[in-house]
């Protein structure tokens, strides 16, 4: 469990206000941890093509959705009761965006699990391709872990590092994409499986994007200012085919 930091904690004249903000940050971090675990398990069951495990991942997605609703309810309550301004306002408003990003990460993990159910029927998949997706998955998992740590500790530098680093995931996605094209050219019978693998890779790339979205939210939460717009980008949204 991550240690939680709250901006200007503990010194509200009304103590219950500080308690509410702390509870909100704690629950968001728990929700993030759940999504992080879902991504990890989705990747594990995908690599082992474990259908039962994939079904468990799919079922657990409801927990994330429920947490989102509960956190939004808490944030609305704080807005109504406390009418927060300045850093308190940011702490009460950013949850709506963060839980949305986390919920999307959960959905993408669920999608990987759904693809796994289909791929579990496939006998042979290209080992090199699986390895490349596994590498990409490792990077994505690390990125989620880093951004959730940065959120929990309100570490602006760590959040900025996540924001700056998204290009390596994009580059890996490009590499996987081109490998998939080459496999599909060489083995027409593998086209269906490759189409599913392409979605798995794209889901991972999107998870990376949500990590950078959360980095932007953390930046606003801590500084009250939007992040700059110029982020280095490795690949294109969908790589071009030469």
């Amino acid at each position: 469990m991550r240690t939680i930091s709250v901006l200007g904690m503990s010194d509200h004249i009304v103590k219950s206000f500080s308690d509410d903000l702390h509870q909100l940050a704690t629950d968001i971090t728990r929700m993030g941890g759940l999504a992080e675990r879902q991504v990890g398990e989705a990747l594990d069951v995908f690599m082992r093509r474990n259908a039962a495990g994939a079904r468990a991942v799919i079922e657990r997605d409801t927990d994330i959705d429920n947490m989102q609703k509960e956190i939004e309810r808490q944030a609305i309550r704080i807005l109504v009761l406390r009418q927060p301004v300045a850093q308190d306002m940011r702490q009460a408003v950013t949850p709506f965006k963060i839980v949305n990003a986390i919920e999307r990460i959960g959905d993408l993990a669920k999608n990987i699990a759904k693809r796994t159910l289909v791929l579990a029927e496939e006998s042979a998949l290209d080992a090199e391709l699986l390895e490349a997706i596994a590498e990409m998955g490792k990077l994505v998992r690390q990125r989620i872990c880093d951004i959730l740590d940065a959120y929990a500790t309100l570490d602006l530098e760590a959040a900025t590092r996540v924001w700056m680093k998204d290009e390596d995931i994009d580059e890996q996605f490009d590499a996987v994409f081109h490998k998939l094209l080459s496999v599909m050219r060489d083995q027409p019978e593998a086209v269906e499986a490759c189409a599913h693998l392409l979605f798995v890779a794209k889901n991972l790339e999107r998870i990376g994007d949500h990590a950078t979205n959360i980095a932007e939210i953390v930046h606003f939460l801590v500084t009250g200012e939007e992040m700059g717009t110029h982020r280095p980008r490795g690949g294109s949204e969908w790589p071009t085919v030469s």
């Binding site: 004249i13 301004v85 300045a86």
Partner: protein
């Protein structure tokens, strides 16, 4: 003590026309249209210094909110703008305050006429113990702004309409103003302030004695009036300051800590003291 419009003065009203104080609006150095410019303003109550070197520009056509804990000097500073502090024994104001480029402390400035240009609304509604009609008619009549019955009738109706009160009182104009509800009384004294065609309206916690509906009506009125007047409001309600003002100034222990666009002050204040105050962390 004589009361004129909604301002209080020790002085008898001057016979000089109101225009005596008028001067052409002066553009501020940065190009913004500033109605009032205060420089190095100190205020003392006897030996005790209540305000220390205050510098601020009050824009035209906008609402400026003064916020800060009790005793920080915000109401004292508000009263500087129409020399209401002159009426307080032992109160001494130094520094320069310009209204449209003219120093309001110059000998040639008649404080009574100044207070017609810079009207004031207080925390507790203070209608005269006269009819609704007379509450409005008194100021314009004494300042020579309206003389005939038709003219005065017109000023009364226009002022009450602008204050959003006309429809509620048009059938009982000759009943006592004190018989109105608190919110109506507050709109009556705003109408009374408007009746003498002021340029600035100072409001010292105008809604603190009102219920949420009366407060909403006053806030709506402030929003409508700001196009015509420079409005300065002292309020203890952070939400109200955020809602009604375009500029916010935070005072603490007699100093002006931070002044800026209201949106900026309430989303991302620069000074930790401002942040601590508006977020309820003041120790």
């Amino acid at each position: 003590m004589t009361q004129i419009g909604n301002v209080t003065s020790q002085h008898a009203p001057s016979a000089a026309p109101k225009e005596a104080l008028q001067s052409s609006p002066k553009a501020a150095p940065d190009g913004a249209d500033h109605k009032i410019i205060a420089r190095d303003v100190d205020v003392f109550y006897g030996d005790k210094q209540a305000l220390d070197k205050i510098n601020i520009d009050i824009p035209n056509g906008a609402v400026t909110a003064f916020i800060g804990p009790s005793g920080c000097g915000k109401s004292t500073f508000l009263r500087c703008f129409n020399r209401m502090n002159d009426t307080i024994d032992g109160c001494r104001v130094t520094g320069r305050i310009e209204l449209d480029g003219q120093d309001i402390h110059e000998k040639s400035v008649d404080p009574v006429l100044l207070r017609a240009r810079v009207g004031m609304v207080f925390q507790k509604p203070n209608p005269f113990p006269k009819s609704i009609y007379e509450n409005i008619a008194y100021g314009p009549r004494i300042h020579g702004l309206a003389t005939s019955k038709t003219e005065i009738d017109e000023v009364v109706e226009t002022s009450l309409r602008r204050a959003g009160l006309w429809e509620e009182v048009k059938d009982r104009l000759h009943q006592p103003g004190t018989g109105l509800s608190g919110g109506q009384q507050q709109r009556l004294v705003i109408a009374r302030a408007i009746a003498v065609s002021p340029e600035v309206i100072l409001m010292d916690e105008p809604c603190s004695a009102l219920d949420p509906i009366a407060t909403a009506k006053i806030e709506e009125l402030i929003d409508e009036l700001r196009e015509t007047f420079a409005i300065v409001i002292v309020t203890h309600s952070m939400a109200q300051a955020a809602r009604v003002s375009q500029k916010t100034a935070f005072f603490h222990l007699g100093s002006l800590v931070e002044v800026g666009d209201t949106e900026e002050i309430f989303t991302n204040p620069r000074d930790k003291r401002t942040q601590d105050y508006i977020t309820g962390r003041f120790g």
